[in-house]
């Protein structure tokens, strides 16, 4: 059966988003979630990255430093690192196709209108966000007349990301 798991990893995850996401998903093993969100846990003076995921299987055998718990449902806001249809969206796809073929409900441009036929270069890294209960992918203008997600898998880090 499926249930929502919320966990705060004990180990720091480093600076690179793609790397941190991979660690989070790996830490959920043996579960392979169908939906997973990162959220920021501000309940302590030092904020922590947390993960809330829809998983299937028994409720034991978790790593994550033992700080996992069952919650009632998805977070109110969150950054989606795993969603149905994600694996097929690695290249350049029309915005309409992204909505039609995945859990993404809307592709929204930052300061630019998006038509269903507009092409999005996904860079194999889609991180839609949960906004008012809807999964929205924010995109921006990119070189070559296409759009790209506003989040990069590996943004430039100055001085090792201090």
């Amino acid at each position: 059966m499926s249930w929502w798991l919320h966990a705060v990893p004990a180990e720091p995850l480093g600076h690179r988003a793609a790397h941190a996401d991979a660690l989070l998903l790996a830490a959920l093993a043996p579960f392979r979630p169908t939906l997973a969100f990162t959220t920021v846990d501000c309940s302590t003076p030092v904020s922590r990255l947390a993960v809330t995921a829809l998983v299937t299987g028994p409720r034991d055998g978790l790593v994550l430093g033992g700080r996992a718990e069952e919650v009632e449902g998805p977070p109110a806001e969150g950054r989606c690192i795993r969603f149905p249809g994600q694996d097929a969206l690695t290249g350049v796809h029309a915005a309409g196709a992204i909505v039609a073929e995945s859990a993404v409900e809307e592709v929204v441009g930052v300061g630019v209108p998006v038509a269903a036929s507009d092409l999005v270069d996904t860079q194999a890294f889609l991180r839609p966000t949960l906004m008012d209960g809807r999964l929205v992918l924010l995109v921006e203008r990119a070189a070559g007349g296409v759009l790209r997600p506003i989040e990069s898998p590996d943004p430039h880090e100055c001085c090792g990301g201090h």
Binding site: V46, R48, R148, S152
Partner: protein
């Protein structure tokens, strides 16, 4: 301690002098800041409330100042991600017309242990070799709980000692590195919120060095403030209030301006390609209308957005200045690559290696594209720093302007004040603004003569300290007037504007553009990642003038 308004200026000076690093002092400052008293209770750079008591105009027009071009953000082989010799950077800065430079290698365990002492003799040598160019020793400080910042001092007997002690006690990298790796292990991450009190203590430490006479002046500018969203509005206000003589501004435009070239790194202009992380201020959120994590016309969103964060500070009457720097680490099409030294264990990457082949990098040499013009009476270390402290500062890209003469006059101040200044008008009287701009006559380093297409006069009411320390909007600030520059204009162009029947305190500031990339309302366009040619999108920003009504 009384909170009587008539006396708070005097009392502010008292607790200001008492500043030290004791926790009590942190708590007291927070208490005062919460009441909005700290904002007005500054000393030399008094807010409008204090100005009522002392009606001397600040930054009078017509002083015998000259513009001195410089750059407060330059790296060398003493940064783990830098590569150049100090001598190379200084020689190139000079070649590109800079009068002053600040060497700012990254703070951290190895830098504090080795580099801060290694760089000092190199700087001395560069000063001797290039008399006439001011070379300051500084630090790119990891502000605990926030972004990076330039910290620097004029040359003096205690300069290196102060920088070394400052870095040991207050650098976010040193504080967050575990003890077994040579750090202090006192905060979780360089940018986590548990670092915030250390940042305030750090700035008060610098101010204490000035007050005790160990250095004549010390300055801090927040670098690339919106890049990762970790400089929250309350932190910026906190820095300013903690040490108003030291924490005076931020990079209006970050460096790395070559990073967006389609023919180069094809990254984001300024390397502004991040998105929110766990330490980002939640209010800085990308939406359908804006992305705070990108540059706009090469400038940081906090500065570029009219009615945005910068304006929210100015609308409080809070002096806060903007600059433009190179953040030079590795310069586009230069042939050098990093040396083979181990920075971690020696504090230097060693002499850079000439590959003989132009390399694709994201930065420009100091002075090649970005300059911070400072109005100062002389080319001296302290005078240039006083100009920066007083906001006589223009942030310029691609030599769009070589200088600017702003004069703001009123019935009470016939001489008037200039950029960064403060003046007074009788309620109901007029304020006259005169702007003279010398148009560029020579090509810039992009190879063309930049053409100024327009100057915007921006302004809004000064409404005093805000109750919400995390406010980052000034809804009543707007572009008040746009002056077009005729295509045929040569030499100097002159514009005037009169504010009639002024009945409320206000501020004004200027920005100018080459007109190549404008939104429908005349503002800068969000830079496109991988396709941002900085030479075809030039802007300048001038710092504000405050006008009080009496």
């Amino acid at each position: 301690m009384s909170h009587d308004h008539d006396h708070h200026h005097h009392e502010a000076a008292e607790w200001h002098e008492d500043e030290d690093d004791r926790p009590l002092s942190v708590a007291r400052r927070r208490f005062l800041a919460g009441l909005g008293i700290a904002a007005a209770g500054t000393t030399a750079l008094a807010g409008p409330a204090a100005a009522h008591e002392d009606r001397r105009p600040v930054n009078p027009w017509g002083a015998r100042d000259r513009w001195f071009a410089g750059d407060h953000h330059i790296h060398t082989k003493y940064s783990p991600d830098g590569q150049y010799e100090v001598a190379q950077q200084v020689a190139k800065a000079r070649e590109h017309g800079l009068d002053w430079v600040v060497i700012t290698d990254h703070g951290g365990v190895a830098h504090q242990k080795f580099s801060v002492d290694l760089v000092a003799p190199d700087i001395e040598k560069a000063r001797a070799q290039h008399r006439g160019t001011l070379v300051y020793q500084g630090l790119e400080w990891n502000i605990p709980g926030a972004e990076h910042a330039t910290v620097f001092l004029p040359p003096g007997r205690s300069t290196v000692d102060i920088l070394r002690a400052f870095e040991a006690a207050y650098d976010g990298g040193v504080l967050s590195t575990p003890v077994d790796r040579g750090g202090k292990g006192l905060i979780a991450r360089a940018t986590s919120a548990d670092g915030e009190p250390y940042a305030l203590a750090a700035l008060r430490y610098l101010e204490a060095q000035v007050l005790s006479g160990r250095t004549e002046i010390a300055l801090m500018f927040a670098n690339h403030p919106a890049r990762r969203g970790v400089d929250s509005p309350h932190e910026i206000r906190g820095w300013r209030d903690a040490a108003p003589g030291v924490a005076v501004g931020m990079e209006g435009a970050p460096g790395h301006q070559a990073a967006g070239l389609a023919t180069g790194r094809a990254g984001a202009r300024g390397f502004y390609e991040a998105s929110p992380n766990q330490d980002s201020f939640p209010g800085y959120a990308p939406t359908a209308t804006e992305n705070p994590y990108r540059t706009y016309g090469g400038f940081d969103w906090m500065t570029a957005k009219v009615g945005g964060l910068w304006d929210s500070l100015l609308a409080e009457g809070r002096p806060w200045w903007v600059t433009a720097t190179s953040d030079s680490h590795q310069n586009h099409l230069d042939t050098f690559a990093p040396g083979t030294g181990d920075h971690n264990t020696t504090g230097t990457r060693g002499a850079p290696v000439d590959t003989g082949k132009p390399q694709v990098y994201g930065d420009y040499w100091p002075g090649f594209y970005s300059s911070t013009l400072v109005g100062a009476a002389s080319r001296s270390y302290v005078d240039v720093m006083r100009g920066l402290q007083g906001g006589k500062v223009l942030a310029v890209h691609g030599r769009l302007v070589d200088g600017l003469d702003l004069r703001v006059r009123s019935d009470l101040d016939g001489r008037g004040v200039t950029v960064g200044g403060r003046t007074f008008v009788t309620r109901g009287a007029d304020v006259e603004v005169t702007i003279e701009v010398r148009l560029a006559m020579r090509p810039n380093f992009g190879g063309s003569i930049p053409r100024l297409a327009k100057v915007d006069l921006i302004g809004g009411p000064v409404t005093g300290p805000t109750a919400d320390r995390d406010s980052f909007s000034a809804p009543h600030t707007s572009v008040l007037k746009t002056f077009e520059v005729a295509r045929t204009a040569r030499g100097t162009v002159r514009f005037t504007h009169t504010f009639r029947n002024v009945d409320n305190a206000f501020y004004l500031r200027l920005r100018g553009s080459d007109g190549n990339r404008l939104t429908s309302d005349g503002g800068p366009v969000m830079d496109v990642v991988g396709d941002a040619d900085p030479w075809t999108d030039l802007w300048f920003y001038a710092n504000p003038v405050f006008i009080d009504v009496v």
